[in-house]
Amino acid sequence: MSASQFASASQVQAKRSRRNALRSYLGAYGFMAPAGVLVVIFFLIPVAIILYLSVTNLASSNFTSDLAKMEYIGLRNYETLLNDQFARKIFFNTIFYVLFTLSIFNVSLALIVSLLTTHIDRGAGFVFRALWILPRITSPVVYILIWKRMMAEAPFGILNQFNDWLGTPTYNYIATNPWVFVVVVNGFIGLSFGMIIFTSAIESIPKDLLNASLVDGSSKLQRIRYVILPLIRWPLLFVFTYQTLSLLTSFVEIQLLTDGGPGLYRTEVWSLTAYHRALSNYFGNAQWGYGSAFAVLLVLIGVVLAVIYMRVFRFDELVAEPRVETL
């Protein structure tokens, strides 16, 4: 065989392997496509739209059918936002809300409930978990209504009825402790997500491993500390990350419960502000452009946090490389 034949053979081979590589890439992209389409339609395009809106003065007061009248105003909305006397308070409200709901309910109590319900009789554990899921599957309006009716001021609220009978003073619970209720009401919903993930993670730990720990001399508590928790590290970090981001953007329950009040912005959070500014202003003027500026900053915070979490928790290391290489 001559040298040129060699060369052409290896060229053919290179071409073929390039084609194979291409084909396997196409396969991979094909599988990612559905998720990709969803991300584009429901994330990238909306983000692009609000990015655009946030640099305009679009509002109901100057809205006409002639969109050409919409004015480009550069970063003026952002300027206004930074000078907004309440922006600071709302920002810290948001941190407070996310931090407390997340740490107390969405992670800690979720973990405690899953640990408890996996350490008792299976049937009973299932019933308890089913009860904890109720807040999540109840429509938010109905769920908040239940809380409000329970806590309402005398003579309407159930708790105040008891106060009445017992002769103790009546309270307007939600109005006096709005933050407690904002956190608890959201936490009761948020808990079930972590609970489901943690429970399934705990139940998928091989029985032999759990038995081995007891035989090796651990108590049930030591087994949780040394075996169970390390083995559910991934779900823990996942729930922590995921729930931070979803709490940042959630506002429906707060809107229904306190609508950011009582008083000026007492329990207003960032996402609720975006909604208030853009879609439901007290003064009847919906400032679509200004509200979008709030929304854009929220997206920015979310993306930055997501990247930080991925770095700090090293998610790429937690997900093991698949053993099966190219098929």
């Binding site: 081995a212 720990s213 035989v215 090796d216 001399g217 075996v227 083995l231």
Partner: protein
Amino acid sequence: MKVTIDNLTKKFGDVVGVEDLTLHIDDGEFVAFLGPSGCGKTTTLLTLAGIYKPTAGVISFGERIVNQVQPKDRNIGMVFQSYALYPHMTVFQNIAYPLKLKRVAKNIQHERVQQVANVMGIGNLLDRRPGQLSGGQQQRVALGRALVKEPDVLLFDEPLSNLDARLRLTMRGEIKHLQKDLGITSIYVTHDQVEAMTMADRIAVMMGGHLQAFDSPDELYSRPKTQFVAGFVGNPPMNFVSVDVSRSNGAFIAQADSLRLEIGQERGEAPAGYDGAVVMGIRPEDIQISGAGDIAGEIFIVEPLGREDLIDVRVGQHSFLLLASTETQYQTGEQVKLRFDMEKVQFFDPQTEKSILWQQ
């Protein structure tokens, strides 16, 4: 440590795991639980470990009744079939875990782990994680973890069944050697009768949650008390044939159609007293092909096993498995003469399946 199990029953709802089990295990003894899948071996072991609470019955370690004692307070070591190594810990941490739970000082932990690891031949693997070990190495780590706390009782649940045949042979020897060296009372669950026969001082044969026999390997082999035990212990399995045993002219004759065998007094007298048919059992190694034999048969199948041939011979409509040396090449369809060693036959009651020769 002596282990006493009295009338132990463990049920899961209506499912019987093990029922009315009574076993007295001596200090330092190596006992095997042998039985087919689902017969309650693991259930018994986990009940001994304290993972399951007995439904009824009493378990004692030494003189102490342990029914209500937590697993951690039983001072047992256990080796699981799946090894059950903690995947997030290194080999060192895995072996040190029982010591850490006992709050043994750090430097002593190091010393003991290193010592055990050296005995197990894994001293150079202490920094690895279980995922980075071969099956055999994982097995040694599991064994090391069970041994490191110097347990009073060692429990093994089919520890070798995931290893290849060769490694199994090596580990079999090592475990037995180690057990004799350390003198730790051990209970070894297996469904592999060769493992049980070669390793155990005594074997508890179980079936369907019930104890069938508890005897030394030798006893089980030569004096099985039930037909199940006779058929389960020994490979290839014992041949069974339904015969009538009668006394004629001072001799005892077992007869099944054309098959007619003379039995000595020692083994013939008891079955002769029975009305109707009894089950006769004879092991493959107790039947020889020999020109001097008096039973005519025809070779049906020859299966070469390497060291010897397993041959299925038809006598009338009865079929017998037997072992023959590979020196003679037997052919299917060949007519041969058989000699039955009637000093070694067993007889069982066809209804109760109990031995007629060896009453409990």
